[in-house]
């Protein structure tokens, strides 16, 4: 049976970007359907009735929801090419831990940076940098979190690089100053075609953030 892979997508979403990178790494043909989140399609509501969110991966008509679950699914189904999770159970547990850490810390705190001001923003910036430094510690001297090649944690974290410029402008700080290793890592990843074609332009993401701030009345 011919494989049918569809991704319900939204260009700046870090969660959707993760799936795009995974699909590209594995060379999987996919139909990308851009969603208008103010006017969600019937397909989206049918395929993710619980959360009504993107990304939704639809494989031969069956939906898979939640980006990290989707990346694991892709890794399990298309297991013969570019494995993302290591084969050793302990290394897998470590990779899952750090991917979960990215979800808990980078996304939530990053959001606070562009949605808050004053003391709350200052605290968010501090925690953000601390979290990035912990990730730098995990990266160590490896070229990628996955070792010699892109792995699960690289895929989990990379999309947020597209948002760094927006965080920096909104928070009035420079990430590279504090976390040069991480920026070097991101630039190294961008050399790969699968990453370069999946990550949106940072300035475009900043424009989107400004639109959101206006729409939500955030200064």
């Amino acid at each position: 049976m011919a494989e049918e892979v569809v991704l319900l997508d939204f260009w700046p979403s870090p969660f959707a970007i993760r799936v795009r990178i995974a699909l590209a790494e594995k060379g999987i043909q996919c139909e990308y359907k851009e969603e208008d989140l103010r006017n969600k399609s019937d397909l989206l509501l049918k395929m993710n009735p619980i959360h009504k969110k993107i990304p939704v991966l639809i494989h031969n008509g069956k939906p898979v929801c939640e980006s990290l679950i989707q990346v694991q699914y892709i890794d399990e189904v298309w297991h013969d090419k570019s494995p993302l999770l290591p084969s050793d159970p302990y290394q897998r547990a470590i990779a899952r831990f750090w991917a979960h850490f990215v979800d808990k810390k980078i996304y939530e705190i990053g959001t606070k940076i562009w949605t808050t001001k004053g003391e709350e923003q200052a605290a968010a910036k501090k925690e953000f940098i601390e979290s990035l430094k912990l990730l730098e510690g995990e990266l160590g001297d490896k070229p990628y979190f996955g070792g010699d090649n892109l792995g699960y944690v690289d895929v989990a974290l990379l999309p947020f690089y597209s948002w760094f410029y927006a965080y920096e402008k909104c928070g009035n700080f420079t990430i590279e100053e504090e976390c040069p290793k991480l920026i070097a890592w991101a630039k190294r990843c961008l050399q790969k075609e699968s990453v370069a074609k999946s990550l949106p332009d940072q300035k475009k993401v900043y424009g989107f953030v400004l639109q959101l701030k206006k729409a939500f009345g955030i200064e």
Partner: protein, 224 residues
């Protein structure tokens, strides 16, 4: 090499108990170390060494290597000890088990505590969230004996909170989250689950949990 398996846990935590159930199911002998989690100063140096970032239980130590986060530990256990698998083989089924386990932790567990701690509108809203979550799980169960089918799987283990903690809170607080008329299959599942051999030794003592929760609540200001 002899296996060395240790679990740093705490008697009242559903997350900690999940790991106990999985190890029991797989027949893996382990050493249990009770951590005092209410007083940070009393957390053991070993816990702080193995989980420096979050300083939380459960922590599974396998031949000296720490594994953190209950759902991650469950997957690790399943991959390391192959007997009595708790995750399905099929990738789509696995994705579903992971999705619903996350749903329980993100959408069902937190509003139970919000309902307990809150009052008025906030409590109402939290109650609605829990009830909706439970009704969704009723549909997921779809008349099966367990989420895992004939025997318990990862999702059943992840749902331990509902089978025990949620029902204990319901009984002493009078907040009716789970009712047999709205969720008949789920209600039956709760009874089946807590009676399983591999589960019943790994539930907190009921009265002790009630006393502990009430004590914690009065420290936080229980209002009615």
């Amino acid at each position: 090499m002899a296996e060395e398996v240790k679990l740093f846990g705490t008697w009242g935590s559903p997350f900690s108990r999940r790991v106990e159930i999985a190890l029991e199911l797989k027949g893996v002998p382990f050493e249990y170390i009770e951590e005092n989690v209410s007083d940070h100063k009393l957390k053991s140096p070993l816990l702080l060494k193995y989980n420096p970032i979050h300083k939380k239980v459960p922590v599974l130590l396998h031949n000296g290597k720490p594994i953190l986060e209950s759902l991650i530990i469950l997957e690790y256990i399943d991959e390391t000890w192959k007997q009595n698998p708790i995750l399905p083989q099929d990738p789509h089924e696995r994705a579903l088990a992971r999705f619903w386990a996350k749903f329980i932790d993100d959408k069902v567990n937190p509003p139970v505590w919000r309902a307990l701690l809150g009052s008025g509108d906030e409590r109402e809203k939290a109650m609605e969230e829990v009830k909706e979550g439970l009704e969704t799980l009723e549909r997921v169960l779809n008349g099966k004996k367990f989420f895992g089918g004939e025997t318990i799987g990862m999702l059943d283990i992840a749902a331990n909170f509902i089978a025990f903690w949620l029902r204990v809170v319901q009984e002493f607080s009078g907040l009716e989250f789970l009712t047999p008329d709205k969720c008949p299959a789920l209600t039956k599942w709760c009874d089946e689950f807590v009676s399983c051999d591999v589960v019943k030794e790994h539930l907190p003592p009921r009265e002790k949990l009630i006393a502990f929760t009430k004590n914690w609540l009065s420290g936080n200001g229980w209002t009615d």
